[in-house]
């Protein structure tokens, strides 16, 4: 708070001002950054957790597809393996957002304001298409929908960030 009020605080006393936005980094969009060395470590943790979740997701998915004869309970149990990893990722990600400065938080909000309606549009349209015709699991399923949310998030972030550049 002292930094916000303009008092001189030692750099080590300050909270990192910038959250990590790993998906943006994947496409080379530079996040708002003030203390790069501090941010990097926070970014690295969140990036590592995000990567770990992706690896666990695709690992479980591959295993389930390769072993269709597994018992139902075991299959369901395996399906939940990525969940705690994502929860940890989310926890650190929210921490990053909370420590971001006010413009970065605005950008996050505006990015989500774009991404969320696009997600709703996708789901409602898919629901109608599914009523209109039969969709094959291989063509369109939850496996294919969630990456679209990531893309919407990236698009919303880039759109909002460009506005303030």
């Amino acid at each position: 708070m002292s930094a916000i009020l303009g008092e001189q605080a030692a750099p080590s006393d300050r909270q990192p001002q910038v959250a990590l936005f790993p998906f943006l980094k994947l496409i080379g969009v530079r996040p708002v950054s003030k203390q790069s060395s501090h941010i990097f470590s926070e970014d690295a943790v969140i990036m590592a957790l995000g990567t770990l979740w992706l690896l666990s997701y695709f690992g479980v998915r591959f295993y389930l597809e390769s072993n269709p004869d597994l018992a139902r309970g075991a299959r369901i149990g395996l399906a939940f393996i990525p969940t705690p990893i994502f929860a940890l990722f989310l926890w650190r990600f929210i921490q990053g957002i909370r420590s971001a400065d006010e413009l970065e938080r605005r950008i996050q909000l505006e990015g989500l304001a774009v991404a969320f309606p696009l997600g709703v549009l996708l789901l409602t349209t898919l629901g109608l298409v599914q009523r209109a015709t039969e969709l094959k699991f291989e063509d369109w399923s939850y496996n294919h929908v969630w990456p679209m949310f990531v893309i919407f998030y990236i698009f919303g972030q880039a759109f909002a960030r460009k506005r303030y550049q």
Partner: protein
């Protein structure tokens, strides 16, 4: 809302990064304020006012439409 932040900063020969560091925000935030793309929150506006030792209304002033 317009502002005279860039002039005040130049008078003190501060970079955007230096000013950002003094008020605890990112350089991008200072840049967005200076270019009029972002209106700062009241706490940040007061922090800038305090830093430059000038009243708010001499740093920030409304556009022609009063906003």
């Amino acid at each position: 809302m317009k502002n005279g932040l860039k002039v005040l900063r130049a008078e003190l020969n501060w970079s955007q990064a230096e000013l950002a560091d003094r008020v605890g925000v990112s350089r991008q935030t200072i840049n967005a304020i200076e270019t009029g793309k972002y209106d700062p929150s009241l706490p940040l506006a007061f922090a800038l006012s305090r830093l430059f030792a000038k009243p708010l209304e001499s740093i920030f002033f409304p556009n022609g439409d009063g906003v």
